[in-house]
């Protein structure tokens, strides 16, 4: 068994092209598709035509807005230049009581920015009205009113929590995690598949027969091939995650080690699935035709390309229940995005392990029965 593993490792070192291609593709796709989130905040050039606007609650409010960074510029022309050069989608010119929005590209971001600035001005006006009312009634000094107001803002009498409901289950979506997990789990199917395929070619080429006639046991031959396929598949996802963790700066919400650990059942299930596909086909051509069909279908209904939560078809949702990728995504999102404890992820882990055992059993049985 060690001999088989060593020779496979040697062949991998000598010819790592497929591995490199799929690893690079996973990284590129995850970076490109999830890129918008990785770049950080959307930059908004802002020019204060009236300095008071910058120093008022409007300016303060800008610092608290998530997802957008307001860059103060000294010249009005700078805002226009940033937009005309395409460096910013939208910019703003602030005056004492109103503002001007300069839109370069019509996008949802422009509408959001407008709403946020509008809200900041409304807040400013409300505070001014309170101060004005206090001054008119003469009950308190303006400074005392302002102090009271600030205190009240930090310690409100009651707070309101907003949640969104569009379906029966709430779900959180993070495009960085989603594309990273989705593409890593999708492309690793190919890497593992093309590592299991040599069982079929070795059998056709008589290599398998040579080994059967040797003192090596048949189970050792299978185990060596499966261990190696598992190793290469796991290595690929590990490299991708390490690159994202340490080079791109995705922190996995502090659950990096757990994420790596929870990959194990998914990679195992994919190795088993590849065995099943190898058992079903008669030759390499059929395998090459079937693998992309299966992997792309799995990715589509398993939530690798888009969140499974947006799928409404009952049939597709039912099919997703027998798809290892669905559970792979569930595990990784559960660990990194939702912060579930390991015990809470035992259900998808068990399903993947069960799938692995069933697929492998059927696959090996088919291969042995048909002597492929």
């Amino acid at each position: 068994m060690i001999g088989i593993l060593l020779s496979k490792l040697k062949m991998f070192i000598r010819n790592p092209l497929i591995f490199i291609i799929f690893t690079v593709m996973s990284i590129v796709f995850a970076l490109v598709m999830g890129g918008s989130n990785l770049e950080g905040n959307i930059q908004i050039p802002a020019y204060a035509a009236d300095e008071s606007a910058k120093e008022s609650t409007v300016g303060e409010a800008f610092n608290e807005i998530e997802g957008f960074a307001f860059n103060w510029v000294d010249e009005k022309e700078t805002v226009e230049e940033e937009i005309s050069n395409g460096r910013a989608e939208v910019g703003t010119i602030l005056r004492e009581d109103d503002f001007q929005l300069i839109v370069g590209v019509e996008s949802p971001n422009a509408g959001t920015v407008e709403q946020m600035i509008q809200r900041a001005y409304t807040k400013k006006q409300r505070q001014e009205q309170i101060l004005e009312a206090a001054r008119t009634s003469g009950t308190m000094e303006a400074d005392a009113v302002r102090t009271e107001l600030e205190k009240a803002m930090t310690k409100p009498i009651f707070s309101m929590e907003t949640s969104y409901f569009g379906s029966s289950d709430d779900f959180e979506f993070d495009s960085t995690f989603h594309t990273l997990f989705g593409f890593a789990l999708f492309f690793v199917i190919y890497t593992i598949g093309y590592n299991v395929l040599p069982i079929l070619t070795d059998k056709k080429d008589g290599l398998w027969d040579r080994m059967i006639l040797s003192p090596v046991k048949k189970w050792e031959m299978y185990v060596a091939n499966l261990i190696y396929s598992f190793f290469e598949g796991y290595l690929q996802v590990l490299i991708i995650f390490l690159i994202f963790r340490y080079l791109v700066g995705v922190d996995f919400n502090g659950r990096f080690a757990e994420t790596l650990l929870l990959l194990v059942p998914y990679v195992f299930a994919i190795v088993a699935l590849s065995i099943l596909i190898t058992g079903l086909v008669k030759n390499v051509q059929q395998f090459n035709a079937l693998l992309p069909i299966i992997s792309v279908s799995m990715a589509m209904i398993g939530g690798a390309f888009w969140p499974i939560e947006i799928v409404e078809s009952e049939i597709l949702l039912m099919l997703s229940k027998i798809n290892p990728l669905t559970y792979g995504m569930e595990i990784l999102n559960g660990a990194a995005l939702y912060g579930y404890a390991l015990e809470e992820l035992m259900y998808p882990v068990s399903i993947l392990l069960l799938m692995g055992v069933v697929f492998m059993g059927i696959g090996i049985h088919l291969m042995e029965r048909r002597h492929v």
Binding site: G3, S7, K10, R14, G206, R210, M211, L213, P215, H371
Partner: protein, 310 residues
Amino acid sequence: MIELVDLTKKFKQNEAVKNLNMFIEKGEIVGLLGPNGAGKSTAISMMSSLVEPTGGDVRFNNESILKKPAPLRKIVGMVPQEIALYDDLTAEENMQFFGRIYRLTGSALKRKTDEVLDQIGLSERRKQVVSKFSGGMKRRLNIGVAMLHDPELLIMDEPAVGIDPQSRNYILETVKRLNEERQMTVLYTSHYMEEVEFLCDRIYIMDQGNLIASGTKEEIKQILSAEKTISIKTHRLNERFIALLQETPTINRVIAGEKEVTITVPKEINMFPKLIHLAEEAELELSSVDIKNPTLEDVFLHLTGRALRD
């Protein structure tokens, strides 16, 4: 040493091997001859315990291997028809891989690797990856790998198919040398009768799953002892001449090529005057007329009505 008793293999409706009976004695080279699809590969797969027969038995040293294949597997070296090597590994690495699975390690593995590479003439190319080898070199290495563990019985399934004449001769000489020097028993399958004629002491001929002849070369050729083969060459063969030959009652068989026609006739008949007469009638000029000794090809033709490579 090994005996096949009424060995049968069915694949759904197709009966690939039908009641095959044969034996191989220690130290001999036995040929299994037959065209593509005759059932040779299926027969040797059953013989080497790789495929389970539908019926019959394979006996090794008088014991059935169907339930206990281990004793046979220990002494068998298999050269499959395909190039069963890892393309991305060097010749030496392939040797070491197959040596290791035969539990050879350390200095014993190194010694055997050197010895076999030397025997097959690939010592100089030991560090070269197999994908860069010529067809002949791959075939030689394919044989070498099967010899690493010093097998007593070497089963070779068309080991020289699709290679140049020099490489083929090298392989045939190597097999002969192994048999002579080490008394290695060899089962050699082929659809090239020249290879089998050169190498083998005894021959089995298969066609469509059936064993159609067996014996020593001389015994098999005796099948045609009552006939002789005449080869007639012309500058340009015409259909009229072939038709006349086919209509002649004393001619048993007519095989026509582009410029040559081969006929089989009873040994006692003098065909020369008749052939000259027929050529004149067909307005044909003969270049040569040769009487040939029967070959295995002729025997096969006689038994099946078609050429070995058809």
